[in-house]
Symmetry: C2
Subunit: 102 residues, 2 copies
Protein backbone atom coordinates (compact mmCIF):
# COMPACT_ATOMS: atom_id res chain seq x y z
CA UNK A 1 0.00 0.00 0.00
CA UNK A 2 1.33 3.41 -0.98
CA UNK A 3 1.39 5.70 2.05
CA UNK A 4 1.22 9.42 1.39
CA UNK A 5 2.93 10.23 4.72
CA UNK A 6 6.01 8.28 3.61
CA UNK A 7 6.34 10.39 0.46
CA UNK A 8 5.57 13.64 2.31
CA UNK A 9 8.31 12.77 4.81
CA UNK A 10 10.83 12.04 2.06
CA UNK A 11 9.98 15.23 0.20
CA UNK A 12 10.23 17.39 3.33
CA UNK A 13 13.60 15.89 4.20
CA UNK A 14 14.88 16.31 0.64
CA UNK A 15 13.86 19.98 0.53
CA UNK A 16 15.44 20.54 3.95
CA UNK A 17 18.74 18.93 2.91
CA UNK A 18 18.64 20.77 -0.41
CA UNK A 19 18.47 24.02 1.58
CA UNK A 20 21.24 22.90 3.89
CA UNK A 21 19.17 23.18 7.05
CA UNK A 22 19.20 20.97 10.11
CA UNK A 23 16.17 19.33 11.68
CA UNK A 24 16.73 21.60 14.69
CA UNK A 25 16.66 24.78 12.58
CA UNK A 26 13.47 23.85 10.71
CA UNK A 27 11.71 22.52 13.81
CA UNK A 28 12.57 25.72 15.68
CA UNK A 29 11.41 28.02 12.91
CA UNK A 30 8.19 26.02 12.42
CA UNK A 31 7.56 25.79 16.19
CA UNK A 32 7.34 22.02 15.94
CA UNK A 33 8.99 19.55 18.33
CA UNK A 34 12.24 18.22 16.84
CA UNK A 35 11.31 14.61 17.58
CA UNK A 36 7.94 15.06 15.92
CA UNK A 37 9.44 16.56 12.76
CA UNK A 38 11.94 13.73 12.66
CA UNK A 39 9.11 11.18 12.84
CA UNK A 40 7.21 13.03 10.09
CA UNK A 41 10.31 12.96 7.87
CA UNK A 42 10.67 9.22 8.46
CA UNK A 43 7.04 8.66 7.53
CA UNK A 44 6.18 7.45 11.02
CA UNK A 45 3.71 10.23 11.87
CA UNK A 46 1.03 11.92 9.82
CA UNK A 47 1.64 15.67 9.69
CA UNK A 48 -1.51 17.69 10.32
CA UNK A 49 -2.31 20.31 7.70
CA UNK A 50 -1.30 23.03 10.16
CA UNK A 51 2.11 21.42 10.82
CA UNK A 52 2.62 20.92 7.09
CA UNK A 53 1.92 24.60 6.46
CA UNK A 54 4.33 25.65 9.23
CA UNK A 55 7.12 23.39 8.01
CA UNK A 56 6.63 24.49 4.39
CA UNK A 57 6.88 28.12 5.50
CA UNK A 58 9.97 27.35 7.60
CA UNK A 59 11.56 25.76 4.52
CA UNK A 60 10.51 28.63 2.24
CA UNK A 61 8.88 26.09 -0.08
CA UNK A 62 5.28 26.54 -1.30
CA UNK A 63 2.92 23.79 -0.10
CA UNK A 64 1.88 23.30 -3.72
CA UNK A 65 5.47 22.42 -4.65
CA UNK A 66 5.60 19.85 -1.86
CA UNK A 67 2.28 18.28 -2.87
CA UNK A 68 3.16 18.19 -6.58
CA UNK A 69 6.47 16.54 -5.79
CA UNK A 70 4.61 14.03 -3.61
CA UNK A 71 2.19 13.38 -6.49
CA UNK A 72 5.05 12.92 -8.95
CA UNK A 73 6.86 10.45 -6.72
CA UNK A 74 3.71 8.45 -6.03
CA UNK A 75 2.99 8.31 -9.75
CA UNK A 76 6.34 6.57 -10.23
CA UNK A 77 5.43 4.10 -7.48
CA UNK A 78 2.06 3.54 -9.15
CA UNK A 79 3.76 3.01 -12.47
CA UNK A 80 2.00 5.98 -14.00
CA UNK A 81 3.94 8.42 -16.07
CA UNK A 82 1.68 11.10 -17.49
CA UNK A 83 4.64 13.08 -18.76
CA UNK A 84 7.74 11.08 -19.72
CA UNK A 85 10.90 12.10 -17.87
CA UNK A 86 13.08 11.54 -20.91
CA UNK A 87 12.50 11.73 -24.60
CA UNK A 88 12.73 8.22 -26.10
CA UNK A 89 15.99 7.55 -27.95
CA UNK A 90 14.29 6.68 -31.24
CA UNK A 91 12.33 9.95 -31.13
CA UNK A 92 15.54 11.89 -30.49
CA UNK A 93 17.19 10.13 -33.44
CA UNK A 94 14.22 10.90 -35.68
CA UNK A 95 14.27 14.65 -34.96
CA UNK A 96 18.01 15.16 -34.64
CA UNK A 97 18.48 16.04 -38.34
CA UNK A 98 15.86 18.78 -37.98
CA UNK A 99 17.44 20.11 -34.80
CA UNK A 100 20.84 20.32 -36.46
CA UNK A 101 19.38 22.68 -39.08
CA UNK A 102 19.07 25.46 -36.48
Amino acid sequence: MILVRQEIGDVLRDFRLQKGRTLRQVAGKASVALGYLSEVERGQKEASSEILASVAEALDVPISMIMREVGDRISVLEGIQVFPDVVPDDLVASIEPELSLH
Copy 2:
Protein backbone atom coordinates in the same frame (compact mmCIF):
# COMPACT_ATOMS: atom_id res chain seq x y z
CA MET B 1 -3.33 29.51 6.17
CA ILE B 2 -3.74 27.00 3.37
CA LEU B 3 -4.90 23.65 4.74
CA VAL B 4 -4.05 20.56 2.72
CA ARG B 5 -6.97 18.60 4.23
CA GLN B 6 -9.43 21.15 2.81
CA GLU B 7 -8.08 20.62 -0.71
CA ILE B 8 -7.88 16.84 -0.28
CA GLY B 9 -11.52 16.85 0.83
CA ASP B 10 -12.61 18.94 -2.15
CA VAL B 11 -10.68 16.76 -4.60
CA LEU B 12 -12.08 13.52 -3.15
CA ARG B 13 -15.62 14.87 -3.34
CA ASP B 14 -15.12 16.14 -6.90
CA PHE B 15 -13.77 12.77 -8.09
CA ARG B 16 -16.65 10.99 -6.33
CA LEU B 17 -19.27 13.22 -7.95
CA GLN B 18 -17.53 12.95 -11.31
CA LYS B 19 -17.91 9.18 -11.05
CA GLY B 20 -21.54 9.51 -9.98
CA ARG B 21 -21.08 7.70 -6.69
CA THR B 22 -22.72 8.39 -3.35
CA LEU B 23 -20.89 8.89 -0.06
CA ARG B 24 -22.48 5.63 1.10
CA GLN B 25 -21.15 3.66 -1.88
CA VAL B 26 -17.59 4.93 -1.53
CA ALA B 27 -17.54 4.64 2.26
CA GLY B 28 -18.81 1.06 1.99
CA LYS B 29 -16.30 0.04 -0.65
CA ALA B 30 -13.43 1.70 1.25
CA SER B 31 -14.57 0.24 4.60
CA VAL B 32 -14.66 3.73 6.11
CA ALA B 33 -17.45 5.10 8.29
CA LEU B 34 -19.80 7.26 6.23
CA GLY B 35 -19.70 10.11 8.77
CA TYR B 36 -15.90 10.05 8.78
CA LEU B 37 -15.66 10.19 4.98
CA SER B 38 -18.14 13.04 4.99
CA GLU B 39 -15.98 14.96 7.46
CA VAL B 40 -12.88 14.27 5.38
CA GLU B 41 -14.65 15.59 2.26
CA ARG B 42 -15.63 18.75 4.13
CA GLY B 43 -12.04 19.27 5.29
CA GLN B 44 -12.98 18.77 8.92
CA LYS B 45 -10.87 15.67 9.52
CA GLU B 46 -7.38 14.71 8.39
CA ALA B 47 -7.47 11.47 6.42
CA SER B 48 -4.74 9.06 7.46
CA SER B 49 -2.58 7.70 4.64
CA GLU B 50 -4.29 4.31 4.99
CA ILE B 51 -7.77 5.86 4.66
CA LEU B 52 -6.63 7.95 1.71
CA ALA B 53 -5.32 4.83 -0.03
CA SER B 54 -8.60 2.96 0.63
CA VAL B 55 -10.77 5.82 -0.62
CA ALA B 56 -8.60 6.31 -3.71
CA GLU B 57 -8.94 2.61 -4.50
CA ALA B 58 -12.70 2.72 -3.90
CA LEU B 59 -12.91 5.64 -6.35
CA ASP B 60 -10.65 3.90 -8.90
CA VAL B 61 -8.44 7.00 -8.91
CA PRO B 62 -4.66 6.74 -8.48
CA ILE B 63 -3.38 8.46 -5.31
CA SER B 64 -0.89 10.32 -7.49
CA MET B 65 -3.74 11.89 -9.44
CA ILE B 66 -5.37 13.03 -6.21
CA MET B 67 -2.13 14.52 -4.87
CA ARG B 68 -1.28 16.25 -8.15
CA GLU B 69 -4.76 17.76 -8.30
CA VAL B 70 -4.33 18.90 -4.68
CA GLY B 71 -0.98 20.45 -5.60
CA ASP B 72 -2.47 22.20 -8.61
CA ARG B 73 -5.35 23.67 -6.60
CA ILE B 74 -3.06 24.85 -3.81
CA SER B 75 -0.77 26.48 -6.37
CA VAL B 76 -3.72 28.59 -7.51
CA LEU B 77 -4.41 29.55 -3.88
CA GLU B 78 -0.73 30.41 -3.45
CA GLY B 79 -0.82 32.49 -6.61
CA ILE B 80 1.74 30.29 -8.28
CA GLN B 81 1.13 29.20 -11.83
CA VAL B 82 4.02 27.17 -13.14
CA PHE B 83 2.08 26.21 -16.23
CA PRO B 84 -0.56 28.69 -17.47
CA ASP B 85 -4.08 27.27 -17.66
CA VAL B 86 -4.91 29.18 -20.82
CA VAL B 87 -2.92 30.45 -23.74
CA PRO B 88 -2.92 34.28 -23.67
CA ASP B 89 -5.27 35.83 -26.26
CA ASP B 90 -2.53 37.80 -28.01
CA LEU B 91 -0.46 34.64 -28.41
CA VAL B 92 -3.45 32.81 -29.89
CA ALA B 93 -3.99 35.70 -32.32
CA SER B 94 -0.33 35.67 -33.32
CA ILE B 95 -0.31 31.95 -34.17
CA GLU B 96 -3.82 31.60 -35.57
CA PRO B 97 -2.77 32.31 -39.18
CA GLU B 98 -0.26 29.47 -38.94
CA LEU B 99 -2.80 27.12 -37.40
CA SER B 100 -5.28 27.82 -40.20
CA LEU B 101 -2.73 26.58 -42.73
CA HIS B 102 -3.24 23.00 -41.53
